[in-house]
Symmetry: C2
Subunit: 333 residues, 2 copies
C-alpha cells in the first residue's frame, strides 16, 4: 500500500510520452496527486501545479512517485539529489523502474536513516498462496485482448469510472506497475513466480459484496506466445463473471512477434470463454472495446457499429466514448 | 548441469514411496547411479548396491543426490552428518527438497571449504529470456493432461526410451525437479518468474537436427486453475509439433480442487490444439496415454481400446505397455 497523496516526479522527461505514468495518475486518480516536480529542461507537463518538495509536503504529499521513464538504464545523480532530499523530508518513494530504488546504496541509506519506505512496484511484496479455485462472493470482470497493449488497462480504468458514476460498487484491481502506481496497490503479476500467479489474482480479488465488481486489469494475450501464461492465470485466478474482448484493428502482427497474426474477435471469444468457464461456468462475454486511435472519427464510428452488428455485443472505444454503455451491460448482469 | 554418476541417498525413508525420486533415477537413467546409501531403519530399496560414501567415490560417483522426501520440513542432523561428510569427500550435493541445501549454514560452510556445489533444483539458475516465438528447427512433442499428476512425466520418459530403442534421435527435456534430478539438467518451470516462463521453455528446447525430437515434460493442466498458466507457457514456449493427451480415468475431481470435474479427452483436445497452433500451425495430436493403475488388466485393455476407437488415435498405458506404438506415430510425422 503506497501512501497518498503523491507528488509526481517528472524529472528531465524529454517529452510527454516519457511521463505516461504521471499522466495516468493525473487522468485516473487526480485526487491522489497534489502537484508535479520538474527539473530544468523537462519537456513534459501533466497539468498540475509545479511544486518544490517543501510546498508539496505542506500540501500533504506523503510519497514522491517517479512518474517518468529513466534513460540508459541508470538513475542519474541529478535525480538522486532530489530523491535523497525527499527522503530527508520524510517522503516515501515509489517507482516502477526496472532499476530498483533499493539497489541504489545512497537511496537505501537515506531511507534507513529517515525511516522512509522505498516502494519498487515491479517486485512482489506479499507471499501469495497457490490458487484454491474456491468460488468467491462478489462479481469480477476481466478484459482479454487479441494482442498485448491494445487498451486493456484503459478499458478497466474507464469502466471503473463509469460504474462509480452510475452509483455502482467497483474497484479497479491493478496487475501491472502503472496500475499499481495509479491506485497505490495491486499485484505486479509479471514478476510473480509461476506457481503463485493464479493465487496472487485470487488474493487480489477476495470475497466482496454480492453487488460489487472487481475490475481486474488484464495482461498479455492468450495469443501472445511470450505472455500467454500470465493471461491464463488471470482468467483462472480471477474467475471472472464477465469478459470484455479488447482489440486494436490496425495491428498487422502481434506486438514484438513478426510473423504472428492477431486473431479475430470471434477467435478470441471462442478460445477465451471456454477457458474462463473452467473457473466460472456462468461467465459471459459482456462487450467489446476497440482502440481506434489510428482511425478518423468517422472510420471509428463505422468500425464500432460494424463490430457491434457482427458480434451482437456492445462495442465501444472507451477513450473516445467513455465506458457508460459497458457499465450498463454489467449492471444488468 | 549436475555431474553424474550419482550415489542415491535414501536416508531413513519410511517406505518405498518416499524414495520415488531415487526410484525414478533407477528406472529411467540406471547408468546415472552407482549405488544407494541407506541409514539404519531405511524402509526403501531401489535395488542398487548399498555403498558407503568411500565405496561410491571409488566407483566414480560425483554427486550425492537426495532421492527421498524429508519429514516435517527440516533436514535432520542425522542427514546432515552424511551430507557434510560427502562434501568433505568432494561430492557435490543435489536436492529437490523445498528446504534448500544452501539455506543450511553447515552445508553451505562445508561446500565453501571443500569446493563442492549445492544443486537446489527447485531454484532456477539461469537468466531466461522473454520468449520470441521464432520457429526453431527440430521437432518437439508435449504431453498435456486432463488434470495434474496423470502421468505426463512418465509418458515423456517412456516415449524417450521407446524412441531411442527405435534408433530415433530424442532428448527428454525436464521441467520439474524429479525430471531434473533424473537427467541432471532442465528448467524448474514452476519456480520461474511469470514473464520468463515461455522463454525458459524456448531456452530448454533450442534449434536441433530436423529429425531430432525434444520430448518436453508437461506440467499442470489447462483445466487446473492453480497451474494452468504454467501449462500455457509450455504450449507456447515449446511450440510443439505433436501433442499427447494424458488422462487418469478414475479421477472424480481435479487434484486438490473439490468441485472441479476433469474434462473429457475430447474437450482437452478441442481446447489445447487451437492454442498450440498459435505457436505452431502444423501441430497435431499424436496419441493418448492413460494411467490405468486403478484398473485390472482386462479393464485397462478394454478401456484403452474403447478410447482408441472413439478418438481415432493410438491410445496406450505407457507403464503397462511401453510407448513403442507412440514412438512409431511420431516417427511417421
Amino acid at each position: 500500500m503506497i501512501e497518498t497523496p503523491y507528488l509526481l516526479f517528472l524529472g528531465d522527461a524529454p517529452d510527454q510520452l516519457a511521463a505516461k505514468v504521471a499522466q495516468g495518475i493525473r487522468d485516473w486518480r487526480p485526487e491522489n496527486a497534489v502537484g508535479q516536480f520538474r527539473l530544468p529542461g523537462c519537456g513534459a507537463d501533466v497539468g498540475l501545479a509545479d511544486m518544490t518538495l517543501q510546498e508539496a509536503r505542506d500540501a500533504g504529499a506523503k510519497t514522491l512517485v517517479i512518474g517518468v521513464a529513466n534513460r540508459g538504464g541508470i538513475i542519474s545523480q541529478e535525480w538522486k539529489d532530489v530523491l535523497v532530499k525527499a527522503l530527508e523530508m520524510d517522503f516515501d518513494l515509489a517507482s516502477g523502474l526496472h532499476n530498483l530504488l533499493r539497489d541504489e546504496r545512497d537511496l537505501l541509506a537515506a531511507a534507513q536513516t529517515h525511516g522512509g519506505t522505498l516502494h519498487d512496484v515491479r517486485v512482489p511484496t506479499d507471499a501469495y498462496p497457490i490458487a484454491n479455485g474456491v468460488k468467491r462472493s462478489g462479481k469480477r470482470v476481466l478484459a482479454v485482448g487479441t494482442d498485448c497493449s491494445v487498451g486493456k488497462m484503459y478499458t478497466a480504468l474507464a469502466l471503473d469510472n463509469a460504474m462509480r458514476k452510475a452509483g455502482m460498487k467497483s474497484t479497479f484491481r491493478a496487475t501491472g506497475q502503472t496500475g499499481i502506481l495509479i491506485t497505490g496497490h495491486g499485484v505486479p503479476l509479471d514478476a510473480v513466480i509461476a506457481d503463485f500467479m493464479a493465487g496472487s489474482v485470487e488474493y487480489l480479488t477476495p470475497d466482496n459484496d454480492d453487488d460489487h465488481w472487481d475490475i481486474i486489469e488484464g495482461q498479455g494475450s492468450l495469443f501472445h506466445v511470450s505472455y500467454s501464461g500470465v493471461t491464463m492465470a488471470l482468467i483462472h485466478g480471477g474467475q471472472p463473471d464477465a469478459l470484455i474482448l479488447s482489440h486494436e484493428p490496425t495491428r498487422t502482427h502481434m506486438r514484438g512477434l513478426p510473423g504472428y497474426t492477431p486473431p479475430s474477435l470471434e477467435t478470441l471469444r471462442d478460445v477465451a470463454l471456454p477457458l474462463a468457464r473452467v473457473a466460472n461456468p456462468d461467465c459471459q462475454v459482456a462487450g467489446i472495446t476497440v482502440n481506434t486511435q489510428h482511425m478518423s472519427e468517422d472510420e471509428s464510428l463505422s468500425y464500432l457499429a460494424g463490430v457491434e452488428a457482427r458480434m451482437g455485443l456492445v462495442t465501444i472505444d472507451p477513450f473516445r466514448q467513455g465506458a457508460d454503455r459497458l457499465a450498463e451491460v454489467l449492471g444488468s448482469m
